[in-house]
Symmetry: C3
Subunit: 129 residues, 3 copies
Amino acid sequence: MPLVHIVIALAVLQFFWFGMQVGRARVRFGVPAPAISGNPDFERVFRVQANTLELLVLFLPGIWMFGTYLSPRWAAGLGIVYLIGRFLYARGYARAANQRGLGYGLSALPALVLVVGGLVGAVRALSLF
Amino acid sequence: MPLVHIVIALAVLQFFWFGMQVGRARVRFGVPAPAISGNPDFERVFRVQANTLELLVLFLPGIWMFGTYLSPRWAAGLGIVYLIGRFLYARGYARAANQRGLGYGLSALPALVLVVGGLVGAVRALSLF
Amino acid sequence: MPLVHIVIALAVLQFFWFGMQVGRARVRFGVPAPAISGNPDFERVFRVQANTLELLVLFLPGIWMFGTYLSPRWAAGLGIVYLIGRFLYARGYARAANQRGLGYGLSALPALVLVVGGLVGAVRALSLF
């Protein structure tokens, strides 16, 4: 499982980096804390972080369960697709709201596959014992 | 623990479904991304997802610790109460802000019991070794 | 690892307490649900909770991996620094936005150390097997 743990660490560090972009966007677009709205350019950078948080709640238990019940290598591989998808999502969404589709799909889909695969693995393990 | 893992997978899939309702509410109530305010009907659906995220951060480590230290069966049972409570919360809150109380209690309470139970179990394990 | 699990339980209970402060601030500053903006005093209390959620996504996998690969005692110690840092962050930010710096650093830094330490531990474990 170290491979899975490495991808988990990279995913939360990527998320931290998205948070730093929100801090920079606060200065750049003039939206001081605690406000989270008022400028659409800021709001898109803010939504990158918020949406990634929403997806990490699926991704983290999913990659752990998929790695435990099915395959650590496939879990890590799907995790790398997720990392690339989130990078494309962040880059696209920072430009325009309608450029977030591809990156969203490339990160939400592997997260869902990890959760559903982990669920299937857990159901199978339950019926074995 | 497979029983606990199944409930974990169901809880994050329920959360993903709440996220899809936010996407649908964006279209239905005319609140395009990245905005997250402007229409109270949209905002209530949005808050269902956000509040569930806040509760999952207690629920996920809680059910895992409760299952590890006390009982996987009781952990899974409390998890199913949480799932039902969150369903009632989402249905009630989508209708009106004052209809979210019952579902909130039925999901926040089991989440708290799982965390406090897990804490008690960990303290007990510490004093054993 | 029970020591690490105790700190995990305390961290999510602290987060739940921040959530209760948001509920109280809703009443005190007249911002009924589902609104999350409109009064800067409310917004700062709200941001304490939201920012803590963002940091917990690093802290929780980080403390677990650091405890698993490096040292449960050091993981728990860094976790206690995080708990104190978050307390100072919440107290400072509730007063004024410019009083959140010290507490932010004292909680974000240990969270980052936990994740990076866990990543180093996982990479080392990978090359051993």
